[in-house]
Point group: C2
Chain length 378, copies 2
DNA sequence: TTGAAAGCGCTAACAA
DNA sequence: TTGTTAGCGCTTTCAA
C-alpha cells in the first residue's frame, strides 16, 4: 500500500523529511527534536515544531521500532476475567507503564487453556514488545513454566519469579502477609481456631493466602481445620458455607476472597447461624460492595497500585539497564479493613440468642475502619 | 543498536533471508509462506517452515508494519476503573479482536482527566493502530467529541457514534431496552410507579438507563418521581437510600447498577424498611455476588460479549473494506434476572409486618431464574 | 510459481 | 550543533 493511503483522503501522511524541508533543516534534526535529544539549537527546535504542527506530523512508530530495535511497548498477559483482583491489577499496570513511558499490549489467557501463558507470551513476542508482564498466572504444571527463551525481560506479578523463566523478576501483593493479618485478627478476637475457605489451588494467589492462614495458626500452635477449596465464586462460597454450618465447632472463617465470603455468609444465615454473633467471617479484596453487604464485611485490601508500580520499576530497569543489580522489592503495606462481620466468639455452650448484642471489637487491628461507611448495624 | 542485540546472547535474531538461505529459496518466498499467500509450491512451503523452525524464526512486526502500512493492531480507550461493566467489556473486546486476527493496545483514561479521550486517541494513533475502540466514554462536553481527524476507523461502544467523529460506527449493550425491562418488571408486579437511582449523567450509559426508565413509565402514563443521581458506588446508593426512605410513597426503585442497589438496600434496611416486602429494588449488571446478597438481587444482565463481537465486526469491516456499506447492528438480547429483591407492593396502609411472608412473584418476566443459585429465603 | 529490486520512515554511526 | 550515509526486515511491484 502506498504511503498515506490509510488516510482515505488521497493525500499522504507527512514524514520527517516533509517537516525537515518546511523547517529548512535536515531530517535528522527533526528526529532529534522529537526524541528530545540534546544538541539542537533553540531556533532549530522552534522551526521544527512549528513545521510539524503545520503539517500535522506524527512520528511513525513502526519505522522507529524497526530502526532502533525497541518498541517502547510492554506486553501484558492477564486472565480474561472480570474478577476484582486481576482487573484492578491490570489497571495498575497500565498506569505504571504509562508513567514509565511505555505503551501496553494486552493478551488474555482463558482459564483452562492449555499452555495459555506460553502461547500468549509467544504472541506478544511476535507483536514486538520490550518486556512482558505476566499477571496472576495459574500453575499449569510443567508446561506452564516459561522455559521458552523469552528474549525480553519478564515480570511476574503474584507468582514466583521462576515461573517467568531464568531471568525473570517478580513482585507480589504480599498475599501471605495479608492472609496472616486476617487470620490473626480473628485469633485476637478470641477464636480458638479459624477455618479457611481457600481459592482454587492452581492459582498462586490462592496458595499464598492458604500459607498465610497456616502460618498464623502455626505461630500460635492452633489446630488447623481441614481446608475447603472454592473457585472464587460466591456460589462456591455458598456451597462451602452449607458444609461448614454443620461443623459443630465453627466460630470463624477466613475466605480467600470477598465473593466467596458473601456466599458463605448467606449460607450460614440460611442455616440459622448469625454473623458475627455465632460465626465471624473475614474476606479478601475489599470489593466495592463489601462495606454494604449484610453484615459489612471485614476484609483485607490488596495494594495493587503500589505493586504494579514497584514491579514495573523492576521491569523497566531490566529493559533499560540489563546489567544493573535488580533492586530488591519492598514489602507492600498490609491493610486490614475491620467492619462488622467479625466479633469475639460466642460464649461456650451459650445459646446464640444471648450474644445477639455482643459489642463489636474495633480498633484493635492494623487499620482504622474505612471512612464514609454506614454505621455497623446488627 | 545492531540487529539482535536485544537477545542479549550476542547472537542475532534470524531474519527472513536467513530462513530463505537455509531453505534454498528467495526471501520473498519466505514472506509468502508466512502470509499464507497463494502460489507457493507445497515443496517450497515445507522447506521454508522447516528452516524457520530450525532457526527459531519469528517475523518482525515493525518491519512488516512499516512496509505494509498496516499494524494489525486495534487500540482501545477505556476507563481506568475496575467497575464491573467497563472491565467486562474490555475482556469481550480483547477476545473479539483476537478472533478477528488483531492485537490490542490499551490506554486508560482517568475520569476527570480533561480531554482524556482525545489525548488517549492521539497516543494510540502515534503508537500505530489500524482502528480504535472507545469504550463507554464519558461526555466531557464540547472537547470530548473527537472532532480531530482520526485517520483510522473508530468504534464507539456504549455511546452515540457521533462521539467518535464523522465516520465512526457504534454498538451498544441496549441499555435503554434493559432499563425499560427492569422498570416494566416492577410495574407488572403492581407498583404504581418506580423511583430511579441514576448513575452520573456524564456517562452515556447512565443516560441510557434513565431514558429506558422514563420510557417505561411514560408508556403506561405513570408519574415520574424525581431522579436521584449517584456515582455508581455503593456509598452513593446508601446515601440515596437514606433520602428515599423518607419518601412516603416509596415502593419500588430501579438502580442504575448493582453496587448502588446494594448500598440502597442496606440504607432501606437501616431505616426499617424491608426488601422486598416494603420496597422492591432492581439493579443493573448482575455482578458476581448479586445472587448472594440479602436479599438476592433482581437485576439485568448486559450482553458484553455479543456487543463486543458485533462492534468489532463493524470496525474490522471499516478497516478492511472501507467502501462497503456498514451492516446494521443487531439489537442485543434483553436478559432480566429475577431474584428475591422484587415483589408486589405492600397493600395500602397495611402495616409492613403483615406482608412479611408475601409470595414472590416469579416467572412472569423475561428470563428464567438463574440456575445454581441459593433458595430465595426471606 | 518464483525472484530481484526498490522502497517503507526512521535511527545509528560517523563526519563535518 | 548539524548533516550524510547506511541500513533496520519486511512488502510491493514487476519481470521472469
Amino acid at each position: 500500500m502506498p504511503r498515506g493511503e490509510a488516510r482515505g483522503d488521497g493525500s499522504t501522511a507527512p514524514r520527517g523529511v516533509d517537516v525537515a524541508r518546511l523547517a529548512g533543516v535536515s531530517q535528522k534534526t527533526v528526529s532529534r527534536v522529537f526524541n528530545a535529544e540534546q544538541y539542537v539549537s533553540a531556533e532549530a527546535r522552534r522551526r521544527v515544531l512549528e513545521a510539524a504542527e503545520a503539517l500535522g506530523y506524527r512520528m511513525n512508530n513502526a519505522a522507529r521500532a524497526l530502526a532502533s530495535g525497541r518498541t517502547r511497548t510492554i506486553g501484558v498477559v492477564t486472565l480474561g476475567t472480570a474478577l476484582y483482583g486481576p482487573a484492578s491489577l491490570l489497571i495498575g499496570v497500565e498506569r505504571a507503564a504509562r508513567d514509565a513511558g511505555y505503551a501496553l499490549r494486552v493478551v488474555n489467557t482463558l482459564e483452562g487453556d492449555p499452555g495459555g501463558v506460553a502461547g500468549a507470551v509467544e504472541s506478544l513476542l511476535e507483536q514486538g514488545v520490550d518486556g512482558i508482564v505476566v499477571s496472576e498466572p495459574i500453575d499449569e504444571g510443567a508446561e506452564g513454566a516459561l522455559s521458552l527463551s523469552t528474549d525480553v525481560p519478564v515480570l511476574v506479578l503474584g507468582a514466583p519469579a521462576a515461573f517467568g523463566g531464568p531471568r525473570a523478576v517478580s513482585a507480589g501483593v504480599g498475599a501471605e502477609a495479608l492472609a496472616r493479618a486476617a487470620t490473626e485478627h480473628l485469633l485476637e478476637l478470641g477464636h480458638v481456631t479459624v477455618h479457611h475457605l481457600a481459592g482454587p489451588q492452581r492459582w498462586f494467589a490462592a496458595r499464598d493466602r492458604l500459607e498465610g492462614w497456616r502460618a498464623a495458626l502455626a505461630a500460635r500452635g492452633r489446630q488447623q481445620p481441614s481446608v475447603i477449596e472454592g473457585d472464587w465464586s460466591a456460589a462456591s462460597g455458598y456451597a462451602a458455607g452449607r458444609d461448614l454450618a454443620s461443623a459443630g465447632d465453627l466460630t470463624a472463617v477466613f475466605a480467600a476472597n470477598d465473593d466467596m465470603a458473601v456466599g458463605l455468609i448467606r449460607a450460614l444465615a440460611d442455616a440459622g447461624l448469625r454473623v458475627p454473633a455465632d460465626v465471624s467471617v473475614v474476606g479478601f479484596d475489599d470489593i466495592p460492595v463489601s462495606a454494604y453487604v449484610t453484615p459489612p464485611l471485614t476484609t483485607v485490601r490488596q495494594p495493587f497500585d503500589s505493586v504494579a508500580h514497584e514491579g514495573l520499576r523492576l521491569l523497566v530497569q531490566a529493559i533499560e539497564k540489563p546489567d544493573a543489580e535488580p533492586a530488591p522489592a519492598n514489602d507492600p503495606p498490609v491493610e486490614l479493613v475491620v467492619r462488622a462481620s467479625t466479633a469475639p466468639p460466642p460464649a461456650r455452650k451459650t445459646p446464640a440468642r444471648e450474644r445477639h448484642t455482643a459489642t463489636r471489637a474495633r480498633g484493635a487491628t492494623h487499620a482504622p475502619p474505612t471512612e464514609g461507611e454506614p454505621p455497623a448495624t446488627h
